[in-house]
Amino acid sequence: MNALLSLKNVWVEYGDKVVLERVDLDIAEHSFVSIIGPSGAGKSTLLRLLLGQEAPTRGRILLDGQPLKPECGPDRGVVFQRYSVFPHLDARHNVLFGLECAQAPLLGRLFGAARRRALAEADAMLVAVGLGDNGHVYPAQMSGGMQQRLAIAQALVKKPRLLLLDEPFGALDPGIRADMHVLISRLWREQGLTIAMVTHDIGEAFALGTRVLTLDKRRNDPHAPHRFGATAVYDIALDRKRATQIAGVSSITIDENDNN
């Protein structure tokens, strides 16, 4: 297995509280890893590690064989449950933001031909997530589903090596959630993404993932429950089911441009 991301004996401790212990994990390129587990089992901590928001207390995290810097960077995209789009920019400029940051370090803005090229790229990405007609809409006028589509477009325009999803569909209505499942599956397939998704919804984890990780504590000391951390207790590969499910999804007629 060609590992895109490897965690080697990773521990996370806050004071004497152990959150994660002995996490050994390889995430292959083009896989879709769902991470589930009870509350407080360190799902979010694991995601923050992968994101670079915090560093492990012990152990190493390698991305493409290189140690991961403990800081967020453009090689890892993220979609949170909420607040991950910029309220002061319309949809187009939300997507444009990432391109402008890379190409205009000083002004943070592009002009002329470079701007037109970047805008074309941003528009194409909006079409891909089904927001083609909503380029000039501000997030405050969007529904929750549209905002999440925008957040995905924003992240994907940077072509991240790894896309991290933190309960991305948790705040959406069931119908819209189903639409979003179709969208993220299609983007994952078409763009060859590698995705790690934290979710509370076990059905969602199994429906979308090629692999389901369950985080929980292996051991528990009733007198000092904080002294043992969580680790991956189940690691289930779903490769065979995956192939049939994709075939099933693409045979259903779905309005991919709806603006829920």
Partner: protein, 269 residues
């Protein structure tokens, strides 16, 4: 129908809002007329005619000593002091507030200092300002700045600090540097808040301006009303107060328009 559910129409709301103002004016006119019926030389509640006559000599007749039209000279002097004080405060609050709100190290270093300065009563510093800057324009502008700047800095810093962490993380995953975070994420979102802070600071700014002018000045709206107080010239004081009120309302309205036009996204919900 319940009282809480009875909503006036737009037109009725305007009429309702005007009613207390008109009643107040009417009450003044009646009180003024009744005082003048007893004592035609009454100075405490001057009639509109007396106010117009007194103001005419300030607005349209050049002062025999200086040759200035005193009303306009007062207005220009006060507005330039106020504008300078507000301008310096706004610009500094934006820059300092952004840096304080965005960079944890700077916040840890200077946050407590700003908090302490903010609780010093600015008028208590006026003697120091007069000693340092003399009795000229600088001391008056400095009083306005010291009076409103700490509040504005704290307001902007708190607003920037309260931006959702998700947003800042997201921007970093999109490749934003600290500079780009400040310029493209924090600054535009701080702007509408800055305008609100300026609107809220207008009241205190006028207070500090008039205080400074009352104590040491030779021209200005505050100077004039404190000067003519010695002669019980209510016929000048009242129009001046009305004029200051009008200026304050226009400034507030203009700032609100700037916010609505320039930052429509923040008025969306």
């Amino acid at each position: 129908m319940r009282l809480v559910n009875i909503r006036p129409t737009r037109r009725n709301a305007v009429l309702l809002g005007l009613a207390p103002l008109l009643l107040l004016v009417l009450a003044y006119l009646i009180a003024s007329a009744s005082r003048h019926a007893i004592n035609p030389a009454d100075k405490i509640l001057p009639t509109p005619a007396a106010m117009a006559a007194a103001m005419y000599s300030l607005v349209a007749v050049p002062d025999p000593l200086s040759g200035d039209l005193l009303f306009w000279a007062d207005t220009a002097a006060s507005l330039s002091r106020l504008g300078l004080g507000l301008g310096i405060s706004t610009l500094s609050a934006l820059i300092v507030g952004l840096v304080l709100g965005l960079i944890p190290g700077v916040r840890a270093t200077f946050g407590p200092l700003v908090t302490i300065i903010a609780v010093i009563p600015p008028i208590a510093l006026l003697p120091i300002l007069f000693i340092i800057f003399g009795l000229g324009e600088a001391a008056k502008v400095a009083l306005i700045v010291i009076g409103i700047l700490p509040f504005m800095i704290r307001d902007i810093a708190a607003h920037v600090e309260a931006l959702p962490a998700e947003q800042l993380v997201k921007a970093q995953t999109l490749g934003a540097s600290s500079w780009q975070l400040a310029l493209r994420v924090a600054l535009p979102q701080a702007m509408p808040r800055l305008i609100q802070a300026v609107r809220l600071s207008l009241g205190p700014a006028w207070v500090f301006l008039i205080s400074a002018e009352a104590i040491a000045s030779d021209v200005g709206l505050g100077y004039r009303i404190f000067l003519v107080r010695r002669y019980l010239s209510m016929d000048i004081i009242l129009p001046y107060v009305a004029w200051i009120t009008l200026l304050a309302i226009v400034m507030d309205w203009a700032l609100q328009q700037v916010s609505k036009r320039g930052f429509a996204w923040s008025h969306a919900r």
